[in-house]
């Protein structure tokens, strides 16, 4: 168990160290000459108006995020089911259960569709 997941930690550590070393090398070699015009947000040369990250964005992105949560959790339920499917003793029972589950979610998808949550105008 430990030997299975130890490499994940090692790889994360390795990538972090390499990234920091490269950033450090870059900070040694690169010039540092910031001034007001250079540090402005890039907006095709025009004066930037207002702040970009103060929360004005389409609410539609949020709806997509909620739909994602529903469907991603659904796929997570399907994973163990998919592994056990060919087990003869329970296969028909869990298959019938999964049909009900998928149909309920499909109704949800159709509802969101009819409400226009999937349309992007």
């Amino acid at each position: 168990m430990l030997l299975t997941y130890l490499p994940v930690l090692l790889m994360i550590g390795f990538a972090t160290i390499m990234a920091l070393v490269v950033l450090f090398a870059s900070s040694i070699f690169s010039p540092k000459n910031p001034y007001k015009e250079k540090n402005k947000p890039w907006e095709c040369g025009l004066e930037p108006i207002g702040e970009a990250n103060k929360g004005h964005f389409r609410v539609h992105f949020f709806i997509i995020a909620i739909l994602f949560v529903i469907f991603d959790v659904e796929t997570l339920f399907l994973f163990p089911w998919a592994v056990l499917l060919t087990d003869k003793s329970i296969s028909l029972f869990i298959f019938a259960e999964m049909i009900i589950f998928v149909v309920v979610l499909a109704i949800g998808l159709i509802y969101a569709w009819k409400k226009g949550a999937l349309d992007w105008v």
């Binding site: 490269v22 890039w42 970009a52 964005f57 739909l67 592994v83 499917l85």
Partner: protein, 355 residues
């Protein structure tokens, strides 16, 4: 005092992680060169040819240039998140490769030591790859938000919405593979496809090709490549979520993108094209080949298949135009997800009644 076998195992893990990490870190060098050469070929021009023979040293020149560029942090940016975002995009891309096998085992002749050709064979490999691969979104959305530029914010949001939309279709395709191969471990998935190309999941008719199409389209969107590269749509967004990044931080985003491309190619090969299994196995015809030769031969096939996939991704990039954002959402939610729901049921019926 732990026994000797365990110590050897841990030392080998250290060495493997180091080697794989170094290869991944150096991977963009050949890939950028290849991509630009392919672009040149397709657009009937030469591509890079000045630096070194056939432009082979061009990536090194690019690397030196990026290293020498000033690291600009905009005044209005959220400095902590701005610095953190490239790392958050890059590190999950590395961590995914821990679970990826390039072969089964290699028995070293003479000492009879079984050398594993993967770093770790997780029993939840598919889930791990999808979950850790999905973490890369955080880097992109943090980078887009923290830059405090309108183009970056829009690019980050678009990228997040696009990636989570297609993550669902990608997970469905993975479920299809798990159903066809009956395991979540990547090594087991490949082993279930052995024996010849007619056993590959791609040829599990009639659902195999459908799953492959869903997987391929979803993965194109997942790695932000044309025809789905709206987060970097230069016609409307500058250069999207990395508009404000420069120098090494910018190159970390690029590194993450190239590694993601390789990851997706590897996954396509493992899921649908039989991983390291050669298309025709000599054992089916009763020809005995030593296991060591078969392992090396298998690694060759694995790399060849991955390279073909990488080439296909580049080919698509320079052939197709870009979708509009509403078309992208329509394809993801109104076509891929209903089709995968139906295909899940068809595959389930086939697995129950045909095996």
């Amino acid at each position: 005092m732990p026994e000797l076998g365990l110590i050897i195992e841990v030392v080998l893990i250290f060495i493997k992680v180091y080697i794989v990490g170094m290869i991944l870190f150096m991977l963009p060098l050949p890939l950028t060169w290849l991509e630009r050469k392919v672009a040149g070929r397709i657009q009937v021009r030469l591509g890079p040819h000045r630096v070194g023979p056939k432009g082979l040293l061009q990536p090194f020149a690019d690397m030196v240039k990026l290293l020498l560029k000033e690291d600009i942090i905009p005044d209005k940016a959220d400095r902590f998140l701005f610095k953190l975002a490239p790392l958050l995009a890059m590190i999950p891309a590395f961590a995914v490769f821990v679970a990826i096998p390039v072969g089964d085992t290699f028995t070293i002749p003479g000492i009879d030591y079984v050398f594993k050709l993967y770093i770790s064979d997780m029993n939840v490999g598919v889930l791990y790859v999808l979950a850790i691969g999905g973490l890369g979104i955080y880097g992109i959305i943090f980078g887009g938000w923290a830059s405090n530029s309108k183009y970056s914010l829009l690019g980050g949001l678009r990228s997040a919405a696009q990636m989570i939309s297609y993550e669902v279709a990608l997970s469905f395709a993975a479920i299809g593979v798990v159903m066809m191969s009956n395991s979540l471990s990547l090594v087991e998935i490949v082993k279930s496809q052995g024996g010849g190309f007619w056993n590959w999941n791609l040829f599990y008719l009639p659902v195999g090709p459908v799953w492959f199409l869903i997987f391929f389209i979803a993965s194109l969107a997942e790695i932000n490549r044309i025809p789905f590269d709206l987060p970097e749509d230069e016609g409307t967004l500058g250069s999207g979520f990395h508009t404000e990044y420069s120098g090494m931080r910018f190159s970390f985003f690029m590194l993450a993108e190239y590694i993601a491309m390789v990851t997706i190619s590897v996954l396509a090969v493992v899921f649908f094209f039989g991983g390291w299994m050669p298309p025709i196995d000599p054992a089916t015809f009763g020809i005995k080949v030593p296991a060591q030769i078969m392992s090396v031969w298998g690694i060759g096939w694995f790399i060849a298949k991955v390279v073909v996939f990488i080439y296909i991704f580049m080919w698509i990039r320079f052939t197709l135009p870009r979708y509009r954002y509403d078309q992208l959402m329509t394809i993801g939610w109104k076509i891929l997800i209903p089709v995968s729901l139906i295909t899940v049921l068809v595959t389930g019926l086939m697995r129950i009644f045909l095996t």
